[in-house]
């Protein structure tokens, strides 16, 4: 179910502005990889490049090579919707579809991709909500609007929605930054559980969170505003947080940055 992501020399542009420069890293299946770094250093841009969400913005383009189990994601004959079905994404702010109920939100990805059988949808909804640790809280009100849930519940609903289409890789773009500590903990627990089935890449500003949940950590940084972001160091989380090779990494994680 989980696949390997390999980036080599990936640079992303918004028009003529180069946002990231030559990122190379390999993400192993069934691991959690955290991307940390200061604001504006290109972590989210890199993350959005992995499932081709980058190109939703006008004039955005990419150079370099990104593969998932040796298939180039950016080959001209690749179907972009197939890439996104395989590589799901959870956003910074919970974004449940406001016109849909909790149930419809969870099965939206299946339903909008042509799955019609009620029994299949029901099973998928229950399974995904259970995986997202949300089933017990919502099982009696599946027909209520998804937007009526609390922030933490909405985010778990969005995770359930993402894993309902059974992707290989789940990208998370600061999934806990809008949540309180208890909801954050719920989502971190959830990530450990999902690690058995998916490859997870998470962008976070919270270094404790990176240290708690991830197997590997990548540190991004920029020299100064206007310069492209670069991957400074990528290694086991243990090593990054105890004995980083680069001086910049050490400065950042010990709070002596800038």
């Amino acid at each position: 179910m989980a696949k390997r992501i390999e980036a080599s020399g990936v640079s992303s542009y918004y028009g003529s502005f180069k946002a990231i420069d030559g990122i190379s890293m390999t993400v192993e299946p069934k691991t959690i990889t955290a991307l940390i770094g200061p604001s504006g250093c290109g972590k989210s841009t890199f993350l959005r490049s992995i499932n081709r969400m980058h190109e939703v913005l006008p004039n955005a383009r990419i150079e370099g090579r990104l593969t998932i189990d040796d298939q180039n994601i950016y080959d001209p004959d690749v179907d972009v919707t197939a890439v996104r079905r395989m590589i799901g994404m959870v956003f910074q702010r919970p974004n449940p579809f406001p016109t849909m109920s909790i149930y419809e939100n969870v099965v939206a990805g299946l339903k909008l991709n042509g799955v019609k059988k009620k029994s299949v949808l029901d099973d998928a909804a229950e399974k995904s909500l259970k995986s997202a640790n949300l089933w017990d809280e919502v099982k009696d009100r599946l027909n209520r609007p998804g937007a009526g849930l609390s922030g933490g519940q909405q985010q778990r609903l969005c995770i359930a929605r993402t894993i309902a289409v059974e992707p290989q890789v789940v990208l998370m773009d600061e999934p806990c930054s809008a949540l309180d500590p208890i909801s954050t903990l719920a989502i971190e627990d959830l990530m450990f559980k999902l690690k058995d089935r998916f490859t997870i890449i998470i962008v976070t500003h919270n270094m404790q969170q990176a240290a708690r949940v991830s197997d590997k950590t990548g540190f991004f940084s920029i020299d100064k505003t206007g310069e492209p972001g670069r991957l400074i160091e990528y290694d086991d989380t243990q090593k990054i947080f105890s004995n980083p090779t680069e001086k910049k990494t050490e400065d950042y994680i010990t709070g002596r940055f800038g």
Partner: protein, 360 residues
């Protein structure tokens, strides 16, 4: 006194004292009564106006009196607040007044002919001395013309707006948007002339052995031209209000763009789009000039919108209002009331339909 301490009518507000005096409601009412009596004395005494002017002058006197009274008791800031609130309420009443007046006039004058005959018969063979006669043919005409125009304008307008918001990039989209804006200002008579020159005189002879022909459908075409810009612009604004993260959420599930638009973006914007469409429908239902120009108007019932003259409610009102018969004005008022009621019912129905789509 510190910077924020103020003295109001003898009471000093300090951090230790946050109370002030309040103007009693009885005094407030008293000022209103005195202001009205004073205004009546001035206006009627000097003989310069009737009760309308009494109310206007009374309101102004009341505001002035209230300002000074409240200023004495509660302080300057509180008095300003009171005046601002009173003016906002007055503005609201002033805005609603014409609307209420229109409704009242329509109902009171239109009730006279609100009978079965009016809704069941046409003006065929009704002479100047006949008291009966009705608007059945005009109601049919309005329903058919506006209905066909809506069927044409809504898909075109909504799809056009989707193009502008979701796909349109660069010079072409800017040009389209510019011309839609220009179209918003087209006078209805120009739309009518356009259809007269293009459809009635050039195209319709092809279907009618070489003779030009008026039809309800030609009126629908003109109404479509009028409805399109309203629908495009309002739909465009509503689609732009749909948050980008919703679209991205759907893309991230591997949903293609067209399906995202159809199943996520449009339902989210639906209530607003319906409002825009109903504004356009209401405008189209009230148009007289294009119908007169290209459908010709008729006294008899014509169910077929594709051939022959048709009337419409607004045209019926225009014709009856300028008719010499003493029974005509009543028919005009009732037709106007029917037209307003029709638009109101359609609007309410559309809103209910749009709400059914939303979750409770």
């Amino acid at each position: 006194m510190s910077l924020l301490e103020r003295e109001t009518s003898g009471v000093v507000m300090t951090p230790d004292n946050i109370r002030t005096r309040k103007l009693p409601v009885a005094i407030d009412l008293g000022i209103a009564v005195v202001a009205l009596v004073l205004a009546a004395a001035i206006v009627l005494g000097a003989g310069i106006g009737n009760w309308v002017l009494v109310i206007v002058v009374g309101a102004i006197l009341y505001l002035v009196g209230l300002y000074f009274a409240a200023g004495r008791v509660e302080g300057k800031r509180a008095a300003k607040n009171k005046i601002a609130r009173a003016m906002i309420y007055s503005a609201c009443i002033l805005a609603v007044l014409p609307l209420a007046s229109v409704v009242w006039t329509l109902v009171s004058k239109g009730a006279a002919r609100l009978d079965g005959d009016f809704f069941g018969s046409s003006m065929n063979n009704i002479g100047a001395r006949d008291a009966n006669g009705g608007a059945y043919h005009a109601i049919i005409g309005t329903l058919e013309q506006v209905g066909i125009a809506t069927l044409m304008a809504v898909p075109l307008g909504v799809l056009g707006a989707i193009y502008l918001v979701e796909y349109g990039r660069g010079r072409f989209a800017l040009t389209v948007r510019f011309f839609v804006d220009v179209m918003t200002g087209i006078p209805s008579i120009v739309a009518g002339l356009f259809v007269l020159a293009f459809w009635v005189l050039i195209v319709s002879p092809w279907f009618n052995n070489g003779t030009p022909r008026f039809s309800g459908f030609a009126a629908s075409l003109a109404l479509t031209v009028l409805m399109l810009p309203t629908i495009v612009r309002s739909t465009e604004e509503m689609l732009r209000l749909v948050p980008g993260p919703l679209r991205e959420g759907a893309y991230a599930l591997g949903v293609p763009q067209w399906k995202t638009i159809l199943r996520v973006v449009l339902p989210t914007a639906l209530p607003g789009i319906v409002t825009g469409v109903m504004l356009a429908v209401a405008r189209a239902a009230g148009e007289t000039a294009p119908v007169l120009l290209v459908a010709g108007g008729a006294a008899a019932i014509n169910m077929d919108p594709f051939s022959g003259n048709q009337s419409s409610l607004s045209l019926f009102v225009y014709q009856q209002a300028s008719d010499a018969s003493k029974f005509a004005p009543d028919r005009a008022w009732t037709a106007a009331l029917t037209l307003v009621a029709l638009v109101l019912i359609l609007t309410i129905a559309a809103k209910l339909l749009a709400r059914r789509n939303r979750l409770s």
